[in-house]
Amino acid sequence: MKLSFAYSALAALVLAACSPAEQKPAAEQGASAASAAAPAEVKTVAITAIVEHPALDAVRKGVIEELAAQGYKEGENLKIDFQSAQGNTATAGQIAKKFAGDNPDVIVAIATPSAQSMVAATKTIPVVFSAVTDPVAAKLVPSWEASKTNVTGLSDELPLQPQIDLMKKIIPNLKSVGYVYSPGEVNSTIVLDQLKTALDKDGITVAAAPAQRTTDVPTAARSLKGKADLIYTSLDNNVVSAYESLYKVAVENKLPLVASDTDSVKRGAVAALGINYHDMGVATGKVVARILKGEKAGDIAPQRMDKLDLYVSKKNAAEQGITLSDAVLKEAKEVQE
């Protein structure tokens, strides 16, 4: 058999990776998860994200910083295992299985697909989700009450009314809001429905401009010319990645951009009222620390972020054909000239 070497080498590779020290029978794993107060000095926190991008990375950094502030220092008494699924759901599933097998003290799952596969993979290890817009609709938790399961976490659902108030302050005679979004992102479609319901009460219409891919974003935005007084964008991954192209369209067509991602102000938005993702990471870290100190995940209710920061840009406003009122400028946490 000329290929036998190849097979034995492959088999050795796989077996070597299954170190016997880590192989625990399932029953034993269940038991060790139940007695969370094991005397182990080094705690392990496993973190996974569906993809790496600035907002999700900020969450991860916030978690690690807050844990350090609470006395859990990486490399000393804390081991962090971070895995990114690189945008692939099948890999997210395998990461979930890896974490379920490694049996860490707490698992942090960032963004909906990662959180779903994690919750499907373990019922015993505490899972703290983060940056999930609607954890109830995603069936991670049955309600906004303490779940009594192994799951809790932080939602990045934005209260929409402050966003609408901001839009009205920017364009006082607001008649129609343009909304550029990806029809394939669940968070964005939820915002669209909420936006329609909320604006309907004030007699304001919503002009939806779906963009399936990043490259469709400018075309979608251009279609709003004459149909909308401004363009509102949620935390849509495609749209946020293509913000510069949106900015070009906004300047050409004098369609002011209002964002819910504060980083977008640097990249061309007139104003953004949003969550700071680093703060959300810190809040997630606080929940993780409570669990490390012995609380049960199921006893901690899922939380929303209640603090929103306003960022504005005078330069972008002028380019996009509007002037920001003093009232808006006074509210802003940061004004870019």
Binding site: A6, G101, T122, A138, K139
Partner: protein, 300 residues
């Protein structure tokens, strides 16, 4: 790598083995470059999810998912056979269209399935403690059944006609084979298998998401080629076995790349996952040649 991670790799490997069998059917048997997979995989998941959420038995829902995939494959084949659209373009058109169709079917980009019945219900213990081996075992059942059915099919007259169609369409026509019909049937079987994989996949993931199809065809092709390189064979029984092995190995490589502390130690990070997986696959494909090289050195 822990046992749970190893079984997790087996589980997704076996799911993608069904994809690989489908890809084998289109690319190798019919010689039809088919990218419909990126759409039919999530189509199977979408149809399954909607059926189950509406109270339909999960086994029936799996069958419905596979049937939807068969329709997608037939549509691609019809575009090529009847409308004379180039194979690759026909499959791209169906794949693109399926994105919108899948969104319509699901009604949202994500349908959560946590707590919904699945084909594993009743077998998995209440605390999930046996889930890690029960799920791969059930999926193995699907894979073995699919392999045996395909092996049997290719020994029938229709199956042999299909192989002739892919090998030499003109010759097959001269022998009285209805090649158009063979392409339509073959593409239906291929995409039914891929959609069935999608239906099983969403049950292991906790939800159907519009993004699950991305890269399906790449994984399927990789599995077929890894399998063919490691187990070169002419007999259909061995060829189907080879692509199954290829799919499982591909997923094991990802588990290795995820779990290796050695790689972490020398500075590789989570952002290098795809690169490490690609390098592992290249190494696996070249192992026979590397071995031969060293063998020659020793003897000379």
């Amino acid at each position: 790598m822990s046992m749970i991670a190893l079984f997790g790799a087996l589980e997704s490997g076996l799911i993608y083995a069904l994809v690989a069998l489908g890809v084998l059917m289109s690319f190798r048997i019919l010689d039809f470059p088919d990218l419909t997979a990126d759409g039919s995989f999530p189509l199977g998941g979408a149809v399954f999810a909607v059926c189950v959420v509406n109270g339909i038995n999960p086994w029936l829902a799996c069958a419905a998912g596979a049937a939807a995939g068969a329709c997608a494959g037939m549509l691609t084949a019809w575009l090529h056979v009847s409308l004379k659209i180039l194979q690759l373009l026909a499959s791209i058109l169906v794949m693109v269209a399926l994105y919108s169709i899948n969104l319509r079917i699901m009604g949202a980009p994500n349908v959560p399935l946590i707590g919904e019945p699945s084909v594993f219900s009743g077998l998995v213990a209440a605390d999930y403690s046996n889930q890690f081996w029960v799920q791969p075992l059930v999926i193995l059942g699907f894979v073995v059944a699919a392999k045996l059915l395909l092996d049997w099919f290719f020994s029938t007259e229709a199956g042999l006609s299909m192989r002739a169609t892919g090998a030499n369409a003109r010759m097959a026509r001269a022998q009285g084979v209805g090649t158009s019909r063979m392409i339509i049937i073959g593409m239906a079987i291929s995409n039914a298998l891929i959609a069935l994989a999608g239906a099983l996949f969403v049950q292991t993931q906790g939800g159907a998401d519009i993004s699950i199809g991305i890269g399906t065809i790449v994984v399927g092709l990789a599995a077929v080629i890894i399998g063919e390189t490691l187990i070169p064979a002419k007999r259909i029984v061995l060829i189907t076995l080879a692509v199954i092995v290829g799919a499982v190995l591909y997923r094991l490589f990802i588990a290795l790349a995820l779990g290796s502390d050695t790689l972490r130690g020398i500075g590789f990070g989570p952002q290098d996952l795809n690169l490490i997986t690609a390098v592992l696959v290249v190494l696996a494909l070249r192992l026979p040649y590397i071995k031969r090289y060293f063998h020659r050195k020793k003897t000379s």
